[in-house]
């Protein structure tokens, strides 16, 4: 008898004549339950989401860095606002929250010079999460190309 483990409850349900669905184990930095709530088990689409995110990541990150280097606070806030939801779509909820906090700080100060430490932190966070997204994209691609 084949058993099926539900994603949410871990209760065992015997499902006659069904094959065990493929499960992808996400990097622990990603909120797998949240990703499931958005995409269910459509791993091909999740791969596409990660691919699209990577396609635009550098441009959005460069806009952020440029705004800081040029000391344009309004552009800095806009840049972090734009990139922020990307991390929700990729299950990186902590990063999304960190972006929100940085965005709030942008709204609270009068100059980019007041954000030197915070900018360094968010820049390092984004560099790190890009590696996570890249690595998950590669793993998803391999997972989806493997029929079993």
């Amino acid at each position: 008898m084949i058993v099926y483990i539900t994603k949410k409850s871990n209760i065992y349900f015997p499902m006659a004549n069904e094959t065990l669905p493929k499960q992808f184990i996400f990097n622990e930095k990603l909120d797998a339950d949240y990703l499931f709530s958005l995409y269910a088990d459509d791993y091909e689409y999740i791969e596409e989401v990660f691919f699209t995110t990577l396609q635009h990541f550098d441009q959005d990150f460069d806009s952020l860095k440029l705004a800081y280097e040029n000391e344009i606070l309004a552009d800095l806030r806009k840049a972090i606002h734009k990139i922020k939801p990307t991390f929700g779509f990729t299950g990186l909820l902590n990063t999304q929250q960190e972006c929100k906090e940085f965005e709030d700080k942008c709204a609270a100060v009068s100059s980019t010079q007041d954000l030197a430490n915070e900018f360094r932190q968010i820049r390092n966070i984004l560099i790190e999460v890009k590696c996570v997204i890249e690595s998950e994209h590669i793993r998803l691609k391999e997972f989806n190309s493997n029929p079993i």
Partner: protein
């Protein structure tokens, strides 16, 4: 039911996700995806749609700028990652507000609000005479003389009738009321306001004044307002 819609969103991954939700619903015909307000406006100037999925912060102009400039009023679902815009969304009478990212179920809930038949909100105002209307407020049918009404203001799914003495809130929409009162001395001057043209005290660049209250006039309605006035 199939509604025509467009998606105005500068974040590609969000636009793709929204497009996917639309396709999955089987209720929407996505006519275009636009990454900025200007491109969307160009399209909307030549083609009308039933529904807009609209981000707020985009390069060059905001989603609210777009709403100020379009000449008609499609249903609008705002999509943003910033809940602080909820108040503005309310002011612009949008159907719903989706905080990115959102689940498919939440998307369907928003779609339900858009799909509610107009008949659900049409029984709160009854045009019973040429000089008065009846509105349902506080569980009663209340007679309002047209000459007593200063203006009508949108409050999301409700509208506020403002008279010299009192304000009455009733479940209705500006869009629905516009059809009912357009034969009377009323006209829509903004997506959130219908005014009694006999009550205008003066008009300035920023808007018109009724009993000391400034009412905004949208660009698309300004010419119509001026035409209706007895300008010598």
């Amino acid at each position: 039911m199939s509604l025509s819609c467009i998606i105005v969103e500068d974040l590609q991954v969000a636009a793709d996700y929204l497009n996917r939700c639309c396709e999955k619903s089987g209720q929407l015909n996505v006519q275009g995806l636009f990454a900025n307000v200007n491109d969307a406006l160009q399209y909307l100037n030549t083609t009308s749609v039933d529904l807009l999925f609209l981000d707020v912060e985009m390069p060059g102009a905001t989603g609210f700028d777009l709403l100020d400039q379009i000449a008609y009023t499609p249903k609008v679902i705002l999509t943003t990652s910033k809940p602080e815009y909820a108040y503005d969304a309310f002011e612009y009478n949008v159907s719903d507000f989706l905080k990115k990212p959102f689940t498919y179920q939440r998307f369907l809930d928003a779609l339900k609000k858009v799909s509610q038949p107009v008949s659900q909100t049409t029984d709160t105002v009854t045009e019973t005479g040429i000089d008065h209307i009846f509105i349902k407020s506080d569980g009663k049918l209340i007679r309002l003389n047209n000459s007593d009404i200063l203006y009508i203001e949108s409050m999301g799914d409700y509208v506020k009738f403002v008279t010299m003495e009192k304000k009455y809130v009733t479940h209705n929409t500006i869009k629905n009321l516009e059809e009912k009162v357009s034969k009377l001395d009323f006209m829509k001057v903004h997506r959130s306001y219908i005014i009694n043209i006999n009550k205008i005290s003066n008009i300035r660049e920023s808007g018109l004044y009724i009993n000391g209250t400034e009412i905004p006039i949208s660009k698309s309605h300004k010419q119509d307002v001026l035409k209706r006035l007895n300008i010598i």
